[in-house]
């Protein structure tokens, strides 16, 4: 205390470490000890540590703390200390800065810290990076900074005019640092950089690419490196790498790859491919040699080395399809796809091998096979793996899903892969003379690939063989040409197929074996082409097997997989005009549909909520779920089988009776749609229509003639915000019902006997309940129909107050009866759409009462003794009585009846 009095700059230490006073004290410490010596080192380290703490505290609690930091230019103190290069102080300094940047919440404070190149001078300061501790804090400081990068803050780091970007430059220097954590961080930082949407920065990157090839190489490496990083981490997870997705550190880079590559890799790619210079080759070479071939393709083939690094097939398929969705670089895609579709395992010359803690790229140790042998080995191992993915007998459908996704992305790929796919007999849109073109292109491609990628040389004729082998789907090709081609290669083809038979090992998928064993399908074109149709039919068999599996009781297919399968099949059908395939598939669909119908049919009459389920699922069915931009990690996780996973039903397996039935319904709808598409029949029955043609439903705002209709006058009191009004409003309305609708009208002042519609709801979706306290009151909840855009939710929750209890009772009767009839009509329409025999309504009510116990909550019956008293007296009471009565009533009674669906799940 006295020392403080003595001198203004005294080092009196306040007790509260979280106060402005304490910061003042620390600032004093810093100014007193500008020169770092052995003696004051400890004090300074402690001061720096405490400053970070106070500033963070101040950021959240007391703005004057940061003001002081600003006024005293304390950041400059930091820089001065940094320049003195004391190791332990610099460690602490980096740590303090790291804490500051990571935790400061006020953007104005953060921006100040980033301003005026202070940060850049820290970044480019020559720290002693060979000191492990310094390095660790330095790199994590850079990483923290990189997470603050966005379109606004990039200008703090990247100076367009002076072409300075210290963060990038320094990070690139550490690209090949000998410590893996540093390398990982570097990649992370680079990703954070390229993720920023700033054109001039990307131009900077690409521009420097021209001048300095290594940067581009880095980006290619980066891609590979990242995947390598992912891969090494994937190893930690036993089955699906996605398990680790829950772990933030790992999931981030994975999603970064996706987002980065979606947005940012493409410009780099395009730039380089436009330039038609070496870089593109280097780039594609790097990606291919480091990522695609050794990692992805290796993962899709049998393990050859115990130490090799492989992804699970699910992740490999996932990355593969992501790659196809993202990258458009012609050459890379073509090379990659052609190896995927045609090559054998021998095409893999390198793979990642684990050496204790590290992984490195090594050549595959194998007896070098002569090109001749190579030629005679048509085993398309990668393609087989893809087909195997569709084996529905597996425990779950993730593989199938990602297999489908892969096929889907092949179609979606923008790198003009049409010919390649046709050559592999993936049916795609073809030119007028597809065969010749495809062959030519393929040949050209092969030559290109052999030269640029130093692949093993292949004779053009051999490609011809390969291409024609799978020629079945080229139906628009004149028979003559086809025959000629086939003649040329018949011998080879024969040989090949025999070899495949020999090779058909137990590990092969059952489609393969089935395809091998099966004689050409009856009705198939029993010509020379049938023999070469093997691969092709395998693909179709595989796709069909998913449809098939859906029909079986114990399938493990999720609705979204079926949806994707249907999508892929439709894509194929758009271009293929194959009678046989279509009829077969249609037949299969119809079989499956009947199977499903049998299951569903059992419950149609018995389940009160079937109507709701069907409508909900129909709405769900109309939504397109296949959008790979929004399909997140959840599909990479092992399929969940419980609603506890918080996934929507279509992305998981069903649990319990209701969900199973719902799933069956959605399966049915998909299959039905596919079948209709195949046979070309329009679906006239779905969506279910209950209004006859020419009889439009009444809509709000209509003016309707109510002459001679049953009208019930009532006061509507909305309990929730709705189209009628806000809670507490009292609206005079007339209640009318037609066959299907509940209508509230207001008399039209201009036309007697006419009224304007104020509200319309479907009777089938209405719930009514009496009020235990007031017999003149009905509680009405009307739900809206589910649609593609919104789920079922109530559109009107209101209290209807009638003039007396007789009218109330009449209304109740009319509404419940109307509801019953409306539901009957709707169900009838569904029955006829499904083709299920309808049980006689009278029988039905006795067998399973149509009155839904959950829906109609019986209140105290109007006319009961207690009520009679209150109602009879109420007529004479002043108006004020009503409102109090009503208020108390609404407090006592449940306004919204129990949600039937909820009670179902509970039971």
């Amino acid at each position: 205390m006295f020392r403080k009095l003595g001198s203004s700059g005294s080092l009196w230490k306040p007790k509260n470490p979280h106060s402005l006073e304490y910061l003042k004290y620390l600032q004093g410490v810093l100014t007193k000890n500008e020169k770092v010596t052995e003696n004051n080192k400890k004090v300074l380290v402690e001061a720096l540590r405490a400053i970070a703490e106070i500033l963070i505290w101040g950021d959240q609690n007391d703005a004057s703390v940061f003001d002081f930091f600003l006024e005293r230019q304390m950041l400059l103190h930091f820089l001065k200390i940094m320049e003195q290069g004391n190791m332990s102080l610099n460690v602490q300094l980096l740590q303090t800065l790291n804490i500051l940047f990571e935790n400061i919440r006020h953007e104005t404070s953060l921006y100040f810290l980033l301003s005026n190149n202070h940060v850049n001078s820290i970044i480019s300061h020559k720290f002693d990076l060979h000191n492990d501790e310094i390095m660790a804090y330095y790199i994590s400081f850079l990483k923290t900074l990189s997470f603050k990068l966005n379109a606004a803050t990039i200008h703090f780091f990247f100076n367009e005019t002076t072409e300075e970007f210290p963060l990038l430059i320094e990070v690139l220097k550490l690209y090949n640092w000998n410590e893996s954590m540093v390398r990982i961080a570097v990649r992370n930082i680079l990703l954070n950089i390229v993720r920023v949407q700033d054109d001039s920065m990307i131009i900077f990157v690409t521009k420097h690419t021209k001048a300095n090839r290594s940067i581009l190489r880095v980006f290619a490496e980066l891609f590979a490196g990242l995947c390598y990083f992912v891969a090494t981490h994937i190893k930690l997870a036993p089955r699906h790498f996605a398990v680790t997705f829950r772990n933030f550190d790992v999931s981030q880079p994975v999603f970064l790859t996706t987002s980065m590559s979606r947005r940012k890799l493409n410009p780099v790619y395009e730039q380089s491919s436009n330039d038609k210079i070496h870089e593109s080759i280097i780039f594609s070479l790097a990606v291919t040699t480091r990522y695609l071939s050794p990692l992805l393709l290796s993962s899709l083939s049998p393990r050859r080395n115990n130490h090799s690094l492989l992804l699970t097939p699910v992740s490999a398929l996932f990355f593969f399809s992501e790659f196809l969705l993202v990258v458009r670089h012609h050459e890379t895609i073509h090379n990659f796809l052609s190896s995927f579709l045609f090559d054998t395992q021998k095409t893999l010359k390198t793979h990642w091998i684990r050496h204790e803690e590290n992984y490195c790229l090594e050549a595959v140790m194998e007896n070098l096979t002569s090109p001749v042998q190579d030629e005679g080995d048509p085993d398309r191992v990668f393609f087989d793996t893809l087909l195997e993915a569709f084996d529905a007998s597996q425990k779950d459908d993730s593989l199938a899903f990602y297999g489908l996704m892969l096929i889907y992305s092949m179609f979606q790929n923008k790198a003009d892969v049409g010919e390649l796919l046709s050559a592999a007999n993936f049916p795609v849109l073809k030119q007028s003379s597809p065969t010749g073109l495809a062959l030519q292109n393929l040949a050209r491609l092969r030559i290109a690939s052999t030269t640029s990628m130093s692949r093993r040389p292949r004779a053009v004729t051999e490609i011809g063989v390969e291409a024609t082998e799978e020629e079945e789907m080229f139906h628009d090709v004149p028979e003559q040409i086809m025959d000629d081609l086939v003649d040329d290669v018949l011998v080879d083809g024969d040989e090949n197929s025999r070899k495949i038979d020999d090779l058909a090992s137990p590990t092969r998928s059952r489609f393969q074996s089935a395809a091998d064993e099966l004689p050409p399908n009856p009705g198939a074109v029993a010509s020379s082409t049938s023999e070469s149709s093997e691969y092709d039919s395998r693909l179709f068999e595989a796709l069909s097997s998913i449809i098939q599996a859906v029909g079986s009781d114990e399938n493990r297919i999720r609705p979204i997989s079926l949806e994707l399968a249907c999508l892929v099949i439709r894509q194929i059908l758009m271009t293929v005009d194959d009678e046989k395939f279509q009829t077969n598939l249609a037949k299969l669909c119809s079989d499956v549909r009947h199977k499903l119908l049998k299951v569903i049919g059992q419950y149609v009459n018995g389940e009160n909520l079937f109507l709701e389920w069907f409508e909900d699922e129909y709405a769900e069915f109309e939504v397109n779920h296949i959008n790979f931009d929004i399909i997140g990690y959840e599909m990479l996780l092992p399929p969940a089988a419980t609603p506890l996973s918080n996934l929507p039903l279509h992305k998981r397996l069903s649990s319990g009776f209701e969900e199973r039935l719902r799933t069956q319904i959605i399966f049915y709808l998909h299959i039905r749609k596919l079948e209709r598409d195949l046979t070309g029949e329009p679906d006239t029955e779905l969506p279910v229509k209950v209004f006859h043609s020419g009889q439009d439903p009444v809509v709000v705002g209509d003016c309707i003639n109510l002459h001679n209709s049953d009208l019930l006058s009532c006061t509507v009191v909305p309990q929730q915000h709705c189209s009628l009004g806000k809670p507490g409003d009292r609206l005079s309305r007339f209640l009318v019902t037609d066959r299907l609708q509940l209508i509230l009208v207001e008399p039209d002042s201009r036309k007697a006997g006419w009224a304007i519609v104020r509200f319309v709801g479907l009777l089938q979706d209405m719930t009514i309940s009496g009020d235990s306290a007031d017999s003149k009151v009905l509680h009405v909840v009307v739900e809206g129909q589910p649609s593609r855009l919104k789920k079922r939710q109530s559109v009107l929750t209101a209290k209807f107050i009638f003039d007396d209890h007789i009218r109330c009772m009449a209304a109740k009767q009319r509404l419940s009866k109307g509801r019953q009839t409306a539901r009957g009509l709707k169900l009838g329409a569904i029955f006829s759409a499904l083709g299920v025999p309808r049980v006689d309504p009278s029988q039905m009510t006795s067998a399973s009462p149509r009155v839904n116990p959950f829906r109609i909550v019986k209140g105290c019956a109007p006319g009961s003794v207690r009520k009679t008293v209150s109602t009879s007296s109420s007529g004479r009471l002043p108006a004020g009585y009503y409102s109090t009565n009503i208020r108390s009533a609404s407090r006592n009674s449940p306004i919204v009846p129990e949600d039937p669906t909820q009670s179902r799940t509970n039971s």
Binding site: S19, L20, E71, E107, T108, S115, F156, E160
Partner: protein
């Protein structure tokens, strides 16, 4: 005599604290003006401001009545617009700067003022003070904007106007005095008042109280209260 000295003890040596923001096109001399004001001499040629910078200085509005000015210097470059935007909210006064030798910078003032007006915060953003400042008035030969034009513009937008030179120091202090006085006037009539959560305007007294409170928790802290004014 004014002093740029902010009490070593950081004690309650001022009555109010005003936070101002200085805006205007790139290279009009915002940083030079602020540096002249805070350092009392002409600054060497400086690099363009990256992001924001911060200055503070105490001034005496009338004998014994001091206010502290906290000054946010902002980058004029377009690319920092989104950054600088976030500094308006906690400002009570805006100095819109243009270069009298650069016609365009004057023409852009309107946009700057508009942007500031849209982003100001506090309890009564419309009462925040704007002031127009023309810089480099020592370079009369290259003048592209007449004094009258500036004056007219300021009058039209109901703000004060002054021309300064950060080379000779002409009107530099006056410029800041002018805006501080105007803020003070509005504070005096109650149009502006300090509120919690708004950094534009703060009382020095309040701070001294808060300091006193924290010090009172220490048995030996009584002495510091004595030096408050």
């Amino acid at each position: 005599m004014e002093s740029n000295f902010i009490g070593e003890d950081y004690g309650p040596l001022f009555h109010y604290q005003y936070r101002l923001i200085v805006i205007g096109d790139s290279t009009v001399g915002k940083s030079s003006l602020l540096r002249y004001f805070t350092e009392g001499r002409m600054a060497e040629i400086s690099d363009p401001t990256v992001g924001v910078d911060f200055y503070a200085r105490m001034i005496e509005l009338r004998p014994g009545y001091r206010v502290k000015l906290q000054l946010w210097d902002t980058a004029g470059q377009e690319k920092f617009r989104s950054i600088t935007k976030s500094y308006y909210r906690n400002s009570v006064g805006v100095l819109a700067i243009y270069d009298i030798t650069n016609r365009q910078s004057f023409e852009h003032v309107e946009n700057w003022v508009k942007e500031a007006a849209q982003n100001l915060g506090g309890p009564s953003p419309s009462k925040c003070v704007f002031q127009l400042v023309g810089t480099k008035c020592d370079m009369d030969a290259q003048r592209q904007v007449n004094y009258e034009e500036g004056e007219y513009f300021a009058k039209y937008h109901k703000m004060k106007f002054i021309e300064t030179s950060s080379r000779t120091g002409d009107n530099v202090n006056e410029a800041f005095h002018m805006i501080a006085q105007e803020i003070q006037n509005r504070v005096d009539v109650g149009e502006l008042q300090p509120v919690d959560g708004w950094e534009g305007l703060k009382t020095g007294i309040m701070r001294s109280q808060s300091v006193c409170l924290s010090e009172r928790s220490f048995p030996q802290g009584g002495a510091s209260g004595a030096c408050s004014c």
